[in-house]
Amino acid sequence: MIGQPLSEPVTATIMAAAAQRFALAAGDLNPLYFDEAAAKAAGYRTTLVPPVFLAWSLNPPRPLSEVRVDGLYRGEGKRVTLNVKRVMFGGEEWEFLAPAYAGDTFTSETRLRSLEEKTGGSGPFVLQMTETTYTNQDGEVVARARGRSIAR
């Protein structure tokens, strides 16, 4: 199970407008996202996608019938299912290896890295680590994200 993909790879093109909508919603007016001349002056080919937007921009559109009562989408694909009360999102670790340009097409693939049973102050828990690789249309890895979640 370790090292196995957790779902099918997802491919999508991130347009500048979507990247800018994300930056504006975060109150981030960095010209590298909005101004082609500024991006070129900084050594880039064109405007950038805010780096952490990669994680939220590649999800395929889903119908309303897949929205649960809490608003989250129903799980799909192969997942790790744990018989636990709750899962907490523990944190993220990103490596940025190449620029993510607006207009580029990215593919993400998530694999299970580790699953460890541990004992903490408030009892046993399972620490799950996943790794997502983001690759552009030229096959260049632009980023890697490792996610930690805690289930108890």
Binding site: A18, R21, F22, L24, A25, A26, G27, D28, N30, P31, L32, A38, A41, A42, G43, P50, P51, V52, F53, A55, W56, S57, N59, P61, V67, D70, G71, L72, Y73, M88, F89, G90, G91, E92, E93, W94, E95, F96, R148
Partner: protein, 142 residues
């Protein structure tokens, strides 16, 4: 535009100027929309109470975006964000000041390591983070 910061200007132990964010409920809605995130804890206060929260919550990924903004603004347009790592330690709520602070922990070659964090109005750390950036030199070495 943020000003350019150069390698010659930074040294270990130096503080980064703080950045303050204060999210309105409308901003949370717009962030949910921009990330296609329908989770009700970010816009439905009554439902948030069902999950045990006293109010709607600021998205973890929004706080992650703020951390990357804080570091990229500090580094300036010629700086390059090489990596960051953060932990979600406590909840953040809208309509309250969230302050981002940080300091330089190491300079090795052209790579600068930073320790940054987000704190609430009481000074409690909500998200600790480490980041690495590459900075340009004012003059290239001969």
């Amino acid at each position: 535009m943020s000003e350019q910061r150069y390698l010659e200007d930074v040294s270990a132990g130096a503080d980064m100027p703080p950045m303050v964010k204060n999210a309105s409920r409308a901003q949370l809605f717009l962030f949910s929309a921009a990330t296609n995130n329908p989770h009700r804890i970010h816009y439905d206060r009554e439902y948030a109470a069902v999950e045990g929260h006293p109010d709607v919550l600021v998205h973890g990924p929004l706080q992650g975006a703020w951390l990357s903004q804080y570091v990229m603004d500090w580094a300036g347009p010629l700086g390059r964000l090489l990596g960051m790592s953060w932990q979600n330690r406590a909840r953040a709520f809208p309509e309250r000041d969230l302050t981002f602070r940080g300091k330089v922990t190491a300079v090795e070659g052209d790579q600068v390591s930073l320790e940054v964090w987000e704190e609430d109005e009481t000074g409690a750390v909500l998200m600790p983070c480490t980041a690495k950036v590459r900075l340009p030199r004012r003059r290239e070495p001969q």
